[in-house]
């Protein structure tokens, strides 16, 4: 039954080791340059780089270890056309041959990349990316739709995050191919369908999780770009990772860096909104209350003012005025009286100096008839023997006229 000799039976590892040796001994496979396009590029946290190098018909797995990759002056990206230097060898663990890369040199841009740039420029010229035509998303979406694969992590992420942020949301899922040759057309058709039958949708998220440039390519196709542009319902584009930019991103009304981010960006946090409303409400109450207090204070101050301006105060003021007036009057009168008193005093003094007594003091005397007390000024008033009295400063002299004699002046 057993036709093989013991020496012809190999273990898998022995076989792989043998094949590896063949590769490594073939100088046509060592330290060679290969031209191709980078795809499925992954930079591992260890610093090692893994990617696929390919042309139109074929591809080869490549690894570039950290010891070599740190000398790179650029980060390789999918679609980049490169020249790669390295050794072809076998990864024994998997029995796969691969290229152990030592050096990468850019060799012009990849064709997909060029196609992307060309379409991007064309649509931009046509105005499909212009900011003015971008539709605004409502703050509170009620009905949203998601066009994506029904099996990927993307749909789960979007739904989970959306419902966490806003628990009562109506979500319509439209399962679709998101990669492959007919994906772009299918997504485009579904956008058109929603525009026809679901006009009330607040917006549609289209997208998928991360992948190679080829896997994301549907979102770089013109037919999808046109459909997004024509859509009356706002479109949110959520394709791949943060670093992936697609034509859909540019033409859509909102670009989300990832599907999860699409949910974060478009669905508001309901708790936040409710808190904000509460805050506004208490602000209104506080402001209204303050207004009432202000008005009350106004009224109080007006009342105080009124009292101040009121008749009572006026009357008091007049009282004071009158008092002052009387005081002024009094002092005026007093002054006047003093003035008169002064005058009377002066007049009295003058009168005194004119009094006959003052003359008598100086030696003059008054001569009167005793009978009738008639003052004698002329001789003719008296006869001899008339009894007379002579008044002098300190008394009277009684005498009798003995003789009359006229004096010529």
């Amino acid at each position: 039954m057993n036709n093989y000799t013991e020496s012809k039976i190999y273990t898998v590892s022995k076989l792989n080791k043998y094949i590896k040796k063949i590769f490594e001994n073939d100088y046509n496979l060592q330290d060679i340059w290969i031209l191709g396009e980078i795809s499925n590029f992954k930079l591992h946290s260890s610093g090692h780089m893994y990617f696929v190098l390919k042309d139109k018909e074929s591809q080869i797995r490549c690894v570039m270890f950290r010891g070599n990759s740190y000398t790179l002056r650029f980060t390789p990206v999918d679609g980049m056309k490169v020249k790669v230097r390295g050794d072809v060898s076998v990864y024994e663990k998997r029995g796969e041959y691969q290229l152990y890369v030592k050096e990468i040199v850019e060799a012009g841009k990849g064709e997909l990349y060029l196609a992307f740039e060309k379409l991007k420029a064309k649509l931009k010229d046509e105005g499909l990316f212009s900011e003015e035509i971008k539709k605004k998303l409502p703050l509170i979406p009620q009905n949203i739709a998601i066009i994506t694969s029904s099996t990927g992590a993307a749909i789960r992420d979007i739904i989970t995050i959306s419902l966490r942020r806003f628990p009562n949301l109506s979500i319509l899922v439209i399962p679709s191919l998101v990669q492959g040759i007919s994906a772009a057309q299918e997504i485009a058709k579904k956008i058109d369908f929603l525009n026809k039958h679901f006009k009330d949708l607040d917006f549609v998220i289209i997208g998928r999780g991360g992948g190679s440039l080829e896997e994301l390519w549907a979102f770089n196709e013109e037919i999808l770009a046109r459909s997004i542009y024509e859509s009356k319902i706002p479109i949110v584009s959520a394709v791949g990772h943060e670093t992936d930019f697609t034509i859909s991103d540019f033409v859509s009304d909102l670009r989300a860096p990832t599907p999860s981010a699409a949910a974060e960006m478009t669905i508001p946090d309901k708790n936040n909104l409710i808190n904000n409303l509460g805050l506004l409400k208490s602000k209104i109450t506080r402001a209204a209350k303050r207004n009432f207090e202000l008005k009350t204070e106004n009224i109080n101050s007006l009342c105080r003012n009124l009292k101040y301006q009121g008749p009572e105060n006026k009357i008091n003021q007049y009282y004071q005025y009158i008092d002052e007036f009387i005081a002024r009057l009094n002092s005026r009168i007093k002054y006047q009286v003093e003035l008169y008193e002064e005058r009377v005093k002066k007049d009295t003094q003058r009168l005194d100096s004119l009094s006959p007594w003052a003359v008598i003091e100086r030696g003059y005397s008054i001569c009167r008839k005793i009978d009738g007390k008639e003052i004698i000024k002329k001789l003719e008033q008296i006869e001899v023997d008339t009894k007379i009295e002579i008044i002098i400063s300190d008394g009277k002299i009684f005498s009798k006229v003995e003789k009359k004699e006229a004096v010529s002046k």
Binding site: S150, T151, N168, L169, S170, F193, K281
Partner: protein
């Protein structure tokens, strides 16, 4: 400015703007007593409308089944991979 639009047709953000405007007007304190009573009541009413708007929609996750150019139906959405994360809500 009084529009005859129905409450449902006015978006939430417009009510929110109105509410913020009311706060501002009240805080400026230049309203008459009548006006501030009216404004306060309007604010309370709008905040009620806002809350109603937030709670209006019912949670619903459906999957669209397109059956032709004009024909379609919906069914409850469930992930093909059978993970229950969505149904926890």
């Amino acid at each position: 400015m009084k529009s005859k639009k129905k409450i449902e047709d006015i978006p939430f953000e417009e009510y929110l703007r109105k509410l913020e405007n009311i706060v501002q007007r009240l805080e400026e304190g230049e309203l008459t007593l009548d006006e501030s009573v009216k404004t306060y009541e309007e604010g309370m009413n709008i905040s009620k409308i806002c809350l109603e708007k937030l709670n209006k929609t019912k949670k619903k996750i459906e999957q669209l089944v397109i059956e032709g150019e004009e024909k379609y139906s919906t069914k409850p959405f469930s992930e093909k991979k059978g993970e229950n994360a969505i149904n926890e809500f």
